[in-house]
């Protein structure tokens, strides 16, 4: 690695040593000298200072190629990743090429083989999935003897450790075997490479589906099976998955888990062993995922059927199972898993892997060890037995002795149906004893006459066993169904809650509450920078946030139950939508919960997927909303522009035109014409001024800072002032005003209200046909208010447009073709009247002609006349 790096460095490639372990060897040190290297990070751990690779420094420096020695290294506790190969993956994700080294014995899938060869279990393994990212692999090969010589010379390991290492691991036979293994592995990798290239070039023959299904049961050696199966699949270049069939035991064990917390409860060895089995399954599944396989927990009361279904669903051709425990009786009846699979799955290739260690004994049909009576069961047994005895005493008067046995049989069945087999068997024995002792002649002895007694015993035992077996299987089915149902219900609940969420905030609050209730864990979410719920937010420490950020950045889980940033109490899951990671879900399970069950993991993951979809939907909705608002703003802006261009230009056109006409052709005109043009200039100038005033008013009203300086003023005065102003601009328009003398003073901002009345009157004048008057009517209104009606006899406004005339620039949206004038006038009226707590409405004019605009203003307390 160093030699190659030196070559590259000489060629000017940006090579940087992330970490190279020289183990104090001079030769290695000499090779490393002259290459740029990154300072190591010091990590304090339990009083000792450990040196680790500075991952962040490396990411920040971003060389073209980083040298990272010893891929299998385990980082000091508290580092970001548990293992160095994870650091390397992060470097690769950041676009940095990495040169690294790894010894053959560290490869995960070879772990068992190495163990078999050397007798040493290597704990620092590197998952095979890392190998898939290799661009190239170079085998550093030495004959075993030479290696040992180098060891002796101190070129490979620290001298003081060399002897010890030699004796243990590096025996010539071991090294030769490992060397062969290394060659084989590299050859397989090269082979896989070639296959890929051939496929890419269309040279098929590998295109057929050769999925390998690996079945594990968690009863010891599951991990071994996974490794073995993975190697088989790897050799064939086939995709593979690991499954386990849950017949309901795990769910039942979960029901007992609460009892387990109350420690010494003696019933629960079963639950405990069940939990052990679950732990093993979890570990095996985790291993499978790290090796690059898929995992699934199947639910079926029939293991064989479950496996065959799974194989069919994946299009698998081979099934890998472990060798099942010898069960002579089952074998006689062709009931072992192997036999069943062979019989019912004839088209599959069955690989049975013999596991080296004795498998744990599992509970079987007749294996009652480990079974203990659950709480309440002894009571039920006693009750049933006593009940049966009493019933038998009563029944004895009416029926024969033979029929009495059925009474006891009913009791046995009753108990069997409510409990498990142990209880059924105990009840059977008790009932038989009671029956024998109390009813069978000679009474009150346990003596049984051969003819009847033996048959009865057999009958009782058989009935109890069959009924117990049936009942307990039924029970497990129910429990298993219930577990599956819980999952489905939780998912349904999530979907229902999410479908109601319209924006991101609601998605967050809905999903956090569902996660909380269905996983029984504290939940925190962050999506697109928005996070919640706030109550939980405060409980996240800086450490937790680092893990959350990491998850989001890398799209992988981190924190508790993972092997990245494990010192966080939270488990963080990335939320994906499409290709991107858009957020992260944090879950904190009770600290007593040491492991995450497959069920919980799967549920959390499925829910997170749904949340991602909902977030995506919410984002689309909000983007649409933003687009709509932008569109509206844009429309308003263009309406404003066209209003300004029209309303400013119309009077300007008249003024410029008139002035220009006067200056050019004035001498050719009569004096009346000249006078008329001069009038045009002044009238249009004032119109322009009014329009600009309107714009300024609008700006003032639009901003929140409008303050009313109220004063007492008579409504008649306001109307008078407005109509005088109107007459100035529109001398031809007649105003008929009718003001109720009862109306007193109103407490308003006089100039503003006058402007409002003027705007309405000007608007009316514009639409009034020539010669028709505008009418202004003021009347007291309900609730101590005054009502001012201003109507014209123009064309009127269609009902559906009456509301819209108060919209800013309504008349202007029609642009060039619209009637000239005031898109603002009525909007300003509304603003002014609104500021006085009054209201404006557009109504049809009197006798159905024209338009009536009604202003309603509160009057306030009348002042005393002083």
């Amino acid at each position: 690695m160093l030699a190659r790096a030196r070559d590259l460095h000489r060629q000017g490639v940006d090579v940087l040593i992330g970490i190279v372990e020289t183990h104090g060897r001079g030769e290695t040190q000499a090779m490393a000298d002259g290459l740029p290297h990154l300072a190591r990070k010091k990590v304090e751990y339990q009083g000792r200072t450990l040196e680790e690779m500075d991952l962040d420094g490396l990411l920040a420096r971003k060389p073209a190629i980083a040298l990272v020695d010893e891929l299998a290294h385990r980082n000091a506790p508290g580092s970001r990743h548990e293992r160095r190969w994870q650091d390397v993956e992060e470097l690769l994700d950041a676009g940095i090429d990495v040169y690294t080294t790894v010894n053959i014995q560290h490869l995960e899938s070879l772990n068992d083989v190495v163990h078999q060869i050397t007798g040493i279990r290597v704990s620092e393994t590197v998952p095979d999935s890392v190998f898939e990212r290799l661009r190239d692999i170079r085998l550093v090969d030495l004959p075993a003897q030479e290696l040992i010589e180098r060891l002796n010379q101190g070129k490979v390991y620290l001298p003081e450790q060399a002897m010890q290492a030699l004796q243990g691991f590096f025996s010539p036979s071991n090294l030769t075997a490992l060397r062969e293994l290394a060659m084989q592995t590299v050859a397989e990798h090269v082979d896989a490479d070639l296959r890929e290239k051939q496929t890419a070039r269309g040279l098929s023959g590998v295109g057929i589906q050769r999925h390998v299904l690996i079945a594990i049961d968690g009863k010891g050696q599951s991990e071994y099976l996974v490794r073995a199966g993975a190697r088989i699949a790897e050799r064939r270049g086939a995709p593979w998955s690991v499954v386990s069939v849950d017949t309901g035991h795990s769910a039942e064990a979960a029901l007992h888990a609460e009892d387990l917390d109350r420690a010494s409860s003696q019933f629960n060895s079963m639950a405990r062993s069940e939990q052990q089995r679950q732990m093993e399954l979890d570990k095996a599944f985790a291993l499978a995922r790290s090796l690059g396989g898929e995992t699934e927990l199947l639910r079926n009361t029939d293991i064989t059927q479950g496996l065959l279904d799974a194989a069919a669903a994946r299009g698998a051709r081979s099934i890998v199972i472990g060798r099942t425990r010898e069960r002579p009786i089952a074998r006689i009846f062709n009931r072992t898993l192997t036999q069943q699979l062979l019989q019912r799955g004839a088209r599959y290739e069955l690989t049975i892997v013999s596991t080296p260690q004795a498998r744990q004994k599992s509970r079987g049909l007749y294996d009652l060890r480990g079974e203990r009576l659950a709480k309440g069961e002894p009571g039920l047994i006693l009750l049933a037995t006593v009940g049966a005895v009493i019933a038998a005493f009563i029944a004895e008067r009416f029926v024969g002795l033979e029929d009495l046995s059925t009474v006891f049989l009913v009791a046995v069945l009753l108990v069997a149906s409510r409990t498990r087999m142990v209880a059924a068997v105990i009840t059977a024995v008790l009932c038989f004893v009671a029956y024998d002792f109390l009813f069978i002649e000679p009474r009150f002895t346990l003596f049984i006459s051969a003819q009847r007694g033996v048959a009865t015993v057999l009958l009782f035992m058989t009935a109890a066993l069959i009924a117990g077996r049936l009942a307990s299987r039924l029970r497990m089915q129910v429990i298993s169904l219930r577990a599956a149902n819980t999952h489905a219900t939780a998912m349904q609940n999530m979907a229902r809650q999410l479908s109601k969420a319209a924006d991101l905030g609601q998605v967050i609050s809905a999903s956090s509450s569902v996660l909380q209730s269905s996983l029984n864990a504290q939940a925190w979410l962050r999506i697109n920078g928005e996070s919640g719920p706030t109550a939980v937010q405060g409980e996240l420490s800086e450490k937790d946030m680092v893990a959350a950020d990491w998850s989001q950045q890398h799209g992988q889980a981190s924190g508790r139950y993972t092997d990245t940033l494990t010192n966080s109490a939270w488990w963080f899951l990335p939320i994906r939508s499409d290709q991107d990671t858009i957020g992260v879900v944090g879950l904190r399970f009770p600290s007593a919960m040491g492991r995450l069950s497959f069920e919980q993991r799967r549920l959390a993951e499925s829910m997170t997927e749904d949340i991602g979809q909902a977030a995506l939907r919410a984002r689309l909705v909000s983007e649409l909303e933003v687009a709509r608002v932008t569109g509206e703003t844009e429309r308003l802006r263009s309406a404003l522009l066209s209003s300004v261009s029209h309303d400013l230009r119309s009077p300007l056109s008249s003024m410029i035109g008139a002035a220009d006409s006067l200056s050019r052709y004035g001498k050719d005109m009569s004096s009346e014409d000249r006078q008329s043009l001069l009038e045009t200039i002044s009238v249009e100038g004032e119109r322009l001024d009014r329009y600009i005033q309107n714009l300024l008013d609008m700006t003032r009203l639009g901003q929140q800072g409008l303050t009313l300086s109220r004063d007492w003023i008579g409504v008649d005065e306001l109307i008078g002032s407005a109509s005088r102003r109107l007459q100035r601009y529109e001398p031809t328009v007649k105003v008929e005003s009718d003001i109720d003398p009862e109306i007193g003073l109103i407490h308003v901002h006089p100039a503003l209200i006058e402007q409002a009345i003027f705007n309405v009157m000007e608007n009316a004048a514009k639409f009034s046909p020539p010669g028709e008057p505008i009418s202004v009517q003021a009347r007291p209104a309900d609730g101590n208010a005054v009502r001012i009606d201003i109507s014209d006899r123009g064309p009127g406004i269609p009902e559906d447009e009456r509301r819209r005339i108060f919209d800013m620039f309504y008349s202007m949206e029609r642009g060039d073709r619209g009637k000239q004038g005031t898109g603002l006038g009525l909007t300003i009226v509304q603003g002014i009247v609104g500021a006085h707590m009054g209201k404006v409405e557009a109504l049809p004019g009197p006798q159905g002609r024209g338009t009536l605009i009604r202003l309603t203003l509160p009057m306030g307390e009348q002042p005393s006349e002083e």
Partner: protein, 238 residues
Amino acid sequence: MSAAIDSAPAPRVLVIDDEPHIRKFIDISLRSQGYLTLLAATGQEGLSMLAGKGADIVVLDLGLPDRDGEDVLKELRRWSRVPVIVLTVRSDEEGKVALLDAGANDYVTKPFGIEELMARIRAFLRVSGLRSETGPIYDDGNLHIDLSQREVKLQGQVVTLTRKEFALLALLVEQAGRLVPQPQLLKEVWGPTHEEDAHYLRILVGKLRNKLGDDASAPTYIVTEPGVGLRFVGKERI
């Protein structure tokens, strides 16, 4: 300048505009120059006036209360070829091109000086009157153009024009004062396949201006209406 036409009957100008003040000053100015005016406040009124009384030229405002000015223009074009000058507040060239496509002959953007409008009106009335003459001659003392002789002189010196340059100049001078749309220029000088090739026109008009001693930034003869077309202005023809 006094009345445009002395011998012939006074030309009649129909003004269709809903703004009374604009109508008024156009009316006064036109009458002062010896035109007869017809005034209409709505599109419908204008159309019936044109149909009933006839006019030599129409000044049409686009912002009419009763119907869209463009509609009026289209309807008018179905039965009349009278020149139409449009008054518009639109200053974007797409709008102008659309107007020309809809059948307008020229446009004036509000606000406008009266002389601008008068020059347009004169240009149309003159063209329709002068087509029959032997061949138009332009002479302002500086530039002399004789289209029938294919002769161009600048300050007495003969200017040599290429065939295309002369064709372009001739097109513009024949319709002096009027806007000639860009596609029309391209089509007549280069042929119908080149209607989109505006850059041909830009280069050719540059050379022509050069030879006529005209400055594109302050043109005295050939005015560019960006995105719409060219207009030969110069002085009034003698």
